[in-house]
Every structure is written in C-alpha cells, then in structure tokens.
C-alpha cells in the first residue's frame, strides 16, 4: 500500500506510523487529501470504497507524539475495503492558527456530515464544503467542544441559566430557513409546506427533527436536524479512567447494551496486549447476541407500530422482558449492564443460567413464526414497505451504511464472518441477506438475524468452555484478586488498578464489531496514562441518518415514517 502511494504521489507523499491494531496508518499532506482519497476509492488495489469515519484529534497538550509528524490538530480519515474488511487510516497534520483541509464531499457524499461534525467539534475548516455549519451543538454555541481548551465539566463553566430572552434567541436560531439550505419556498404551481417532524413528535423515536419540504403530501426534500441527544460521550472519555468509561459506552446505542462495551474493550485490550480467556469470549458473544435479539425485538415492534399496526409492539416487548430476565440474572442490570471488563467480564455466569437461556431458546422460534404471519406477512404492511426507500449496494457503501441496511441490498457483508473477532470464527451461523434493498427487505434481514443469533446462543449454551472469565494480566481491571493477600506486588497492583485505574501503554488502536445496527468502532488514543487521550466513537446510525434525505425524495409523509422505522436508529447512537 505504502509503495503504491509513494510511486504514485512521490516518495514523501506518505509517512507510515506504527499502530497497535495493525491498521495501516499513513500521514499525508493536506493539499493531497482529495487526490489520494480519490485514488484510494477508485484505483488502488484493494479499492477502499467506503469512507468509514472521519474525525480529528487535538494534539496540543499531548506529552508524547512518538515518531509521528503531528502538529496542533490531526484529521483522521478511516477507510474500509469490502474484501476482507481491510481498513486504512489516513492522517493529516494541521497547524494551530488556521486549521483547514480540502473537503472530501466531492468524493464521498457521506463526508458531508462528518466534516460538519469535525468543524463543530474542533473548528477545523473544510475548504469547498457546500454547507459547513454546526451539526451536533446548537447553532448559538460558542467554541468547539472537543478542543482540549474547551471546558468539559459543568464545574469548569459558569452556572447555567436560561432567561426568557435567551430562550427566545435559541428558538429563533432553531427556526428552519429554507434559503440556508438552497431550497425554494414555492414552485410554479403551489407553495411548498415546510413541516417539522420532530423534535417532539410521536413518530421519530426520540428527539430528532426532520424538516420536510412538501408539495401536497409529496416530499420534495428532507433535512434531518440532529444533536438534540448529544451528550458529549467522546469528551467524557477524556475525563474518565479506562475502566470507568465502560458504563458510558452502554448508553451510546442504548438498545445494544453490552454490545457497545465490546468494541471499546477490543481497542483497549489491543493497546494493553491482553488476550481474553476463552470462556470470557464465549460469554461476551452470548451476551452480545442476546442484546442483538433484544434490539431487533424493539425494532420489530416499533417497525409495525410506525406502519400503524398497534399490537405487535406489545408482544415483542413481552419477549424482550423475558430476555431481560436472563440479562438481569447474569448481569444484575437490564438495559445498561456495564458487564464487560478490560480483560474479560465482571463475573462468572450464575448457577442455573443454562435453564433460563434454554427456555428462551425454546420459546422464541414459535413466537417468531407468529410474528412473521402477523407483521412481515401482512399485505398492507408489504404494500407500505416494498419499493419504499430503496437503494442498492453501491449507494449503501458510498454513504457508509453498514449492518442490516447494507445486507438488505444483497451483499453478505458481516464483520463476524469476514473478519471474526472475539471468537466468532468458532460459531456456525449464516449471514442473512435480501436483494431489493427496500424497507421490507431491511425488515426481513433483521428478522432472520434474530434466528441466527438464537443459533449462536444455542452453540454458546452447548459448548460453554470452562476456565477463568478474566485474563491473568496486570492490566485486567479489576485485576484477579487471588494473590493479593499473599504477596505485596499483587496487592499494590490491585490497589492501584482499582483506585487510579490501569495505566494503558501509549499508542492507538481501534476496535470494530458488527453491532446491532451496523459497524461500531471505538478509536482510542493513549499517552500512557490512566485516562484516554482521545476516544472516537463511530456509530452505525450516524451515516444511516445522513442517507435518509436522498432515499425519501419523491415519497410521501407516511413513507418517511416507514423509512425511519426500517432504518433502526437510536438517537444516542447518532448524537453520542
């Protein structure tokens, strides 16, 4: 790869950097960004057709830059090749005074929102971007939150107050102005109606806002307005110890529970050099798949609900309740168990877990058949979802859509199969696909995924290995306690690790999993300290949401709701 870049763009075009995760990482110059990205997208071998992530790092207070040619800011492009799910990271060093890079929106439309996010969070300009404005923070916000000099805690800022005039000011700032988005207010025949669906609307699954440009009931264009659920999960990472950050990850895709712990821990464990024991891996897989089912059940019910079918959501929540019974028995908590630990899981499985899991496995296939005939087999539902919000594989890849949304277009692209992690290679399961790429097919894929997850869980149940549930490694947190009362070394390590938290070796790594909604990644940077220097969370809902405007154009208001329902997003997963 490096030689290919150097022969094409000159010997000093790319500088390589060592990373713990083995992902090729090159430093390139800002001026060459568009040409190199275009080359990698369409000409290089392998080609990297997906702009997976685009983010930045504020390097200004970093103690140890290692051998990298970094400056005040670093913009990171993260690309994916479909074959073998190979990843590539490109970095651009930017000076402090006017950090700016040429935009990549001309190469990948998906770069649009990512660049807006980097501008919003770091104040890095993207020259030539069509509409560089804040995306997560309110338009009235001062400063760029992920810069290291921006306060992170309420105690570092003045007391918050919201007087009447400020309230009015914020309201005016949030009012939609079509001109700012290049939209006309009327056509020759009729006035366009600008309708806000959200932030407070029963059909949007939470606080998100779609501004619709309507001609009658026909959608001319859509502008999603996100950020209402933004909680600064990445900024919090810079203030939490490696260990105490785990509960925050639970709440990113809040329907995915421990599924979110895993990519973060995969990244941290790579930095720490921990090999997780087999039993812990299988427990992790089992819990992840249980949460995949839980997520898909919520999706299934709300999908029917948004199409106007009233009852299924209650049945599916009942099943989810059974599932939470198992999660609660194992983890002690339900939605956000915070159960995985650096180097393993928090505790061993409780006595009698097999019966709970087996009962659930025996119960589900029967009800899934019922749900099939009630929801997926319903003719009205088919009429409402078939041919709606259709896209093909190329478009999905282009926009960074992963997970069921990608597989519904016919590409069996599942990270658990292509690049197994956490021992997935030992399990037998299929990757469900469909081929029309419409709202109905996205549903079919998810329903089949529930069945495949059940299959994986049954294998966990039948072949649960014996052994420890935590790695025997000094950085495992909390560390094994057995030796603490026997020798002072272990006692001190344990004490420090529990009170301060582990000190993770310097470096950077990213962990990537096939989450409930698509690929989830945590890209962590350590400078050999008890807290991460930077935590980047790449979620699946963010690009899926960005893709909604192009697939809604020409449809009607009810179709928008069908598309939202079939997308399966949660707000915290978009806004973080």
């Amino acid at each position: 790869m490096l030689t290919e870049l150097r022969t094409r763009f000159g010997a000093d075009a790319a500088v390589i950097q060592d990373t713990c995760d083995g992902i090729p990482t090159f430093w390139i110059s800002a001026g060459q960004v568009p040409t190199i990205l275009r080359f990698l997208k369409s000409e290089a071998s392998p080609r990297f057709p997906m702009l997976y992530d685009l983010t930045a790092i504020d390097e200004r207070v970093r103690q140890d830059h290692g051998d990298s040619p970094s400056d005040a800011f670093t913009v990171v492009y993260h690309l994916f090749a479909l074959e073998g799910a190979r990843e590539l990271r490109l970095k651009v060093a930017l000076p402090e005074d006017v950090p700016s890079v040429p935009t990549a929106t001309g190469i990948w439309p998906a770069a649009n929102w990512y660049e807006r996010e980097v501008w919003d969070m770091f104040g890095i300009r993207f020259e030539g971007h069509p509409n560089l404005r804040r995306i997560l923070m309110p338009p009235t916000w001062q400063g760029h939150p992920l810069r290291k000099d921006h306060p992170a805690r309420a105690t570092e800022m003045g007391p918050f107050s919201m007087p009447e005039d400020r309230h009015i000011e914020e309201e005016v700032a949030l009012q939609f102005r079509p001109e700012e988005w290049g939209m006309a207010r009327q056509s020759d025949e009729a006035d366009f109606m600008f309708l806000n669906i959200g932030p407070q609307h029963p059909g949007t699954h939470g606080v998100i806002r779609f501004v619709l440009q309507l001609d009658g009931e026909e959608i001319v264009d859509t502008v999603p307005d996100i950020g209402y659920h933004h909680r600064g999960a990445e900024k919090m990472g810079e203030r939490q110890s490696w260990h105490t950050y785990i509960p925050y990850t639970d709440r990113v895709d809040y329907l995915g529970g421990v599924m979110n712990n895993l990519p973060y821990l995969l990244a941290v464990e790579q930095l720490a050099g921990i090999r997780v024991p087999e039993r812990a891996q299988v427990i992790r897989v089992m819990l992840c798949e249980l949460f995949r089912i839980s997520n898909h059940l919520v999706w299934y019910g709300t999908y029917a609900q948004d199409i106007g079918q009233m009852s299924p959501v209650f049945y599916m929540f009942n099943d989810r309740e059974r599932l939470f019974g198992i999660i609660e028995a194992i983890c002690g908590a339900r939605m956000h168990p915070n159960w995985f630990r650096i180097g393993g899981v928090a505790a061993d499985l409780p006595a009698g877990w097999e019966k709970l899991v087996r009962d659930f496995l025996n119960h589900m296939p029967k009800v899934l058949r019922e749900y099939d005939s009630m929801v997926m087999g319903n003719r009205i539902l088919k009429a409402r979802t078939k041919g709606i919000g259709k896209y093909n594989t190329e478009e999905a890849v282009e926009w960074g859509v992963t997970g069921p949304g990608l597989r519904a277009t016919g590409l069996p692209w599942d990270l658990r199969k292509i690049r197994p992690y956490s021992g997935y290679e030992q399990f037998e399961f299929e990757v469900p696909t469909a081929h029309n790429g419409d709202c109905y097919d996205r549903g079919i894929v998810r329903v089949e995924e529930i069945r495949q997850s059940l299959r994986i869980i049954r294998q966990c149940l039948d072949h649960m290995p014996e052994g420890p549930v935590k790695a025997d490694h000094p950085l495992t947190t909390p560390p094994p306690k057995d030796g603490t009362m026997h020798d002072i070394e272990t006692l001190i390590t344990h004490f420090l690790s529990v009170s301060w938290g582990p000190v993770i070796p310097a470096g950077e790594a990213s962990g990537c999993v096939e989450g409930t909604k698509g690929l989830y990644s945590y890209y962590v940077t350590s400078e050999k300290s008890t807290i991460p220097y930077r935590v980047r969370i790449r979620t699946a809902s963010f690009p899926a949401m960005q893709f909604i405007p192009p697939i809604t154009r020409g449809h009607m208001i009810p179709d928008l709701l069908a598309i939202i329902a079939a997308t399966d997003f949660v707000l915290a997963d978009i806004d973080r």
């Binding site: 439309p109 309201e171 290049g182 006035d191 959200g198 407070q200 192009p550 809604t552």
Partner: protein, 135 residues
Amino acid sequence: MEGTQYWPFLVYVGAVLVVIVGQLLLSHLLGERHRDRVTGEPYESGIAPTGSARLRFSIKFFLIAILFVIFDLELVFIFAWAIAIHELGWTGFWGAMVFTAILAVGLIYEWRMGSLDWISRRSPAPRETAVRPAP
C-alpha cells in the same frame, strides 16, 4: 308512508342540541385558564414553524374532489333505478347497463390518465448530496 310522525324527530334533535351545547358550555366554565409566552402558537413538534398553514396547496386534492362530484352525481341516478327495478323491468336494466358502461369508460379513462395515482412521477429520486450549497 302517511303516518310518519315528525315530532319525535324534532324532540330528539332538540335534545341532541341541548346535549352538545351543554357539553361545550360546561367544559368552557369548568376548564382552567393559563397564559404563557407560547400558549398562542400552533403545535409543530415544539419548534418555531416555518411558514403558515395557509398556503396554495397541491392541485391533487382538488382533482379528487372533482372526480367525486362527477361520479357521485351520476351514481344518484342508479339509486332511482335500484328502487324502481321491478317497475322498469329489463328495459330499465339495459338502460342502467348502458349508463354504467359509460361510467366505467370514464373510470378507465381516469385510471389510464393516472389521476387515480397520487404520485405520478415516481421516478428514482436524485441522489446528490443531502445538503446542497447555499445560493
């Protein structure tokens, strides 16, 4: 029917009116009152609206209304035939058939013209970037 009594109907309608007016008045008297900064604004997902609900609306709704007027008026004639079918016999039946055939031709014409399909130009939507440049 000679013996149809109308007074119970009037009593009934009178009672209905009393019920309705009573309900409206009672709730008007019992209800609370409050006045806040945004009490007087229409609900639009809790955000300041862009443009009002009084606008030049799509012609499609009007088209459906016109179709309705045409068909419903013509169907009224069928009602008359239905009640008098025995008196009119087969002559009436063939008359109604011709009438219905004309109606059916009209319906087929509307159908073929696409006035019964709401979105006529459901061509693949353009897939340019979600956010277009400000002018």
